[in-house]
């Protein structure tokens, strides 16, 4: 899932300084699941905004809503469509994709992000998410025992651990596992360590980072 977290209040408050009618719009998809931008967090943020204004002796009108999947234009729905124009600002609590979908749906309303979209992650335990995928567009998990060195190796090495790997930890921090140690451990366990003898060729980045916006079209699904 996409993992995000709320921006610092200071940043949010300064973005909406001149807005008096604010729609705080959550997403019931990923950002609900990562507890950053679901209905509960929407309420929390709206309340904090009102509290802040009240402290300053001014008022603000907030409306709290969440739609199903903010990155799906269809999920805007008629009700939201009707409401949106009444607001100075739509403060989106979705990921970057959700924010931009709302931007596209409401060309005349200021749409602002309340979250920082951090990474694609897995839920380690309740309240802990870790980055495990960088959406490189050229998945190599099949050759690395299911552990992604593009995400989890600070140098994105493809041919084994660098000289900074010590006691299973990465040189950048004792709290970070060396991805290659994990890969080697798991390949050893699976009895497939020999796959690492081969020199992994240079990566095809054309489908990944720094390559301009990507698009996937499934002809069988389009109309």
């Amino acid at each position: 899932m996409i993992v995000a977290e709320r921006k610092p209040m200071e940043e949010i408050l300064s973005m909406i300084e001149d807005a008096n009618r604010i729609l705080v719009l959550g997403c019931r998809g990923c950002t609900t699941v990562c507890c950053a931008g679901g209905p509960k967090e929407v309420q929390e943020l709206a309340t904090l905004i009102r509290m802040n204004r009240k402290q300053k002796g001014t008022t603000v009108e907030t409306l709290e809503a969440s739609n199903e999947l903010q990155c799906e234009p269809q999920s805007v729905g008629p009700l939201l469509e009707k409401l949106a124009d009444q607001f100075d600002v739509i403060l989106s609590m979705a990921c970057g994709a959700g924010v931009q979908t709302i931007v596209k749906s409401f060309p005349d309303v200021r749409v602002l992000p309340a979250l920082n979209t951090n990474f694609i992650g897995m839920a380690e335990e309740h309240g802990v998410w870790t980055e495990v995928c960088v959406a490189c567009g050229d998945c190599l998990l099949g050759r690395t025992a299911g552990i992604c060195p593009m995400t989890r190796c600070a140098k994105q090495l493809l041919n084994g651990p660098c000289g900074g790997s010590m006691k299973g930890k990465c040189e950048i921090s004792k709290d970070v596992d060396c991805a290659w140690q994990l890969i080697i451990d798991r390949l050893t366990r699976l009895g497939r360590l020999e796959v690492l003898e081969e020199i992994y060729p240079v990566k095809d980045w054309s489908a990944g980072w720094h390559r301009g916006p990507q698009k996937i079209v499934r002809e069988d699904l389009t109309s």
Binding site: G38, K40, Q43, H126
Partner: protein, 552 residues
């Protein structure tokens, strides 16, 4: 379609308990100004017959659909007023109580003005909350009058017999090929001196005679689903798989003495454990004339820091048995601390000392050293190492949990501690219960216990279980959390935070809370990021309304 809210407020004088401090007339007048309040009535004692009938009459007369009573604590009086509401024909949960006695008149006697203001605030908050009350129904669930007892050692057998004696069917599972458990290996049970074997045979015979107990040996528990009164347990026994419906479950999986591999030259021949000693005593094969017992072997050490509690008594008991067989045998007990609690145990300890058993204390820094035919020990009184003759060395090792405790714990969703002993819901309030309703524990599965303790716990657990089993159905008030699956984002937050592991994902991938299992704490409700969990009993709307009414 919303019916108009019609709230009646009843303010109690409680004699002078409330009226002596607060101005009831003012409170009534104030309550009358609050939104949706259609009638306000003062009572001398609202809980008296005149008061409750007053409520019932007012409901009819004013067509009330919400009742607020400002009186004493709901912890004692709420049921009375809920019953009045029900009798008057409105849902008993359309009732809200304000505590202006314990929380106001009794504690602010010296500041009447402020107390009066606080009472007004509390009434205002309650009226606001009342507007969002939701009707709550009770529902019933049938109880299977059968218990599952896991483990047929002394604790499990005792539980099973007790339950059968009360007329309940029992499914008794034993993982070994025969019943009896740990006791099978023992000699005599202190302080009664009853033969352990006899005790086992008695119980086994009783169980075989008891038609209500179905015992399955070589059995493994595989799966348990359901909830109190209505569990379904699947297990295998001798190659067959069975599924039994049971209303309650007792965990009596026991424990086993630690095998002291690698400790004090343990070899099972010249260096043996207490239970191996008992086997020798039982068969009359003990011929050693000098015996050294070492206590706390593998216990109360950093990696296993609990005291097994019973080993001191076992050592005392066995040293006395040795002295009985051979008066001139030299018996030394090397100990760190002695656990001989209670009159009888203390008496046995003295008896052992009188019989010439020598007790020498050691500490972890200078443990005894087992040599060839002797044991070296630092004697604190002599201040030096002393060799003790030892034809036989007996190690007292702690009871440790069985390896399969973990799997039973997982299947039943009940907790174990770091040493895999099962963990009760509350050490004092519910020592035999798990937090999950309808599952109980006893014996060594919980913590090392003497036979006597194991039996008392077993009877207690059986009695706890019979409270459930004796009902045809369990009635449960719907003060429980419920998932609105339309809103559920399938984030698993409820699954992860519920202390009772009740929420789960249903086949549609949405969270589901079985009302019979829900304990009504509301933890998941507050945690759910999708606000998809409803809790009509104490809803967000009610709490928010009370907050909004904090200030007039």
């Amino acid at each position: 379609m919303e019916t108009e809210l019609r709230i009646g407020v009843f303010v109690c004088h409680c004699g002078i308990n409330i009226a002596g401090v607060l101005d009831i007339e003012d409170l009534c007048e104030y309550a009358g100004t609050l939104p949706n309040v259609v009638t306000v009535q003062p009572n001398l004692f609202t809980c008296a017959e005149t008061g409750t009938s007053g409520i019932k009459n007012a409901v009819k007369e004013h067509d009330l659909n919400r009742v607020v009573v400002a009186a004493c604590t709901p912890r004692t009086h709420e049921p009375i007023f809920r019953a009045s509401c029900q009798e008057a024909g409105i849902n008993p949960y359309f009732f809200e109580m304000v505590n202006i006695r314990e929380h106001c008149s009794w504690v602010h006697r010296h500041d009447r003005e402020a107390a009066q203001g606080k009472a007004r605030d509390l009434i205002r908050m309650a009226v606001a909350r009342a507007m969002f009350l939701e009707p709550i129904e009770t529902f019933k669930s049938k109880v299977e009058p059968r218990a599952l007892v896991i483990g047929a050692g002394i604790a499990g057998m005792s539980s099973a017999l007790a339950l059968a004696g009360e007329g309940f069917d029992v499914t008794l599972l034993e993982k070994k090929a025969e019943m009896g458990g740990l006791l099978r290996d023992l000699h005599k049970v202190a302080p009664s001196e009853v033969g352990a074997g006899e005790l086992v045979e008695q119980k086994v015979a009783a169980i075989k005679q008891e038609g209500r107990i179905q015992c399955f040996t070589s059995a493994t528990l595989e799966e348990v689903s359901g909830y109190v009164g209505n569990y379904s347990a699947t297990f295998s026994s001798n190659g067959n798989t069975h599924t039994h419906k049971v209303g309650a479950i007792i965990v009596a999986t026991g424990g086993a003495p630690l095998k002291p591999m690698g400790l004090y030259n343990y070899d099972g021949k010249r260096v043996i454990t207490q239970s191996e000693l008992e086997t020798k005593l039982k068969s009359g094969k003990l011929d050693a004339k000098s015996i050294v017992m070492i206590q706390c072997v593998g216990a109360r050490i950093p990696e296993r820091n609990y005291c097994s509690r019973i080993c001191c008594m076992v050592a005392i008991k066995n040293s006395l048995h040795i002295k009985e067989i051979a008066k001139d045998a030299k018996v030394f007990v090397l100990y760190r601390d002695i656990q001989a609690y209670g009159v009888e145990n203390e008496a046995l300890f003295l008896k052992a000392k009188e019989a010439g058993v020598r007790f020498i204390r050691y500490n972890l820094e200078s443990p005894p050293v087992v040599g060839d035919g002797n044991v070296e020990i630092y004697h604190p009184a002599m201040g030096k190492e002393v060799p003790l003759p030892a034809e036989l060395v007996v190690l007292s090792t702690p009871i440790v949990a069985h390896d399969d405790a973990e799997s039973v714990s997982r299947i039943l969703k009940v907790p174990v501690n770091e040493y895999r002993f099962f963990l009760e819901a509350h050490a004092k309030l519910s020592p035999l219960d798990f937090a999950t309703n309808g599952i109980y524990l006893c014996g060594n599965a919980h913590y090392p216990a003497t036979v006597r303790e194991a039996i008392s716990q077993a009877l207690g657990a059986a009695s706890r279980a019979s409270i459930i089993l004796s009902h045809d159905a369990i009635e449960r008030v719907g003060t429980v959390a419920r998932v609105d699956q339309e809103l559920c984002s399938s984030c698993f937050a409820c699954v992860k935070v519920c202390p009772y592991q009740v929420p789960h994902m249903d086949e549609g991938g949405k969270a589901m809370i079985e009302p019979m299992q829900c304990q009504g704490c509301g933890i998941c409700v507050a945690e759910c990021p999708a606000e998809a969990i409803q809790f009509g009993y104490v809803s967000d709307a009610q709490i928010m309304a009370a907050c909004e009414a904090l200030c007039a």
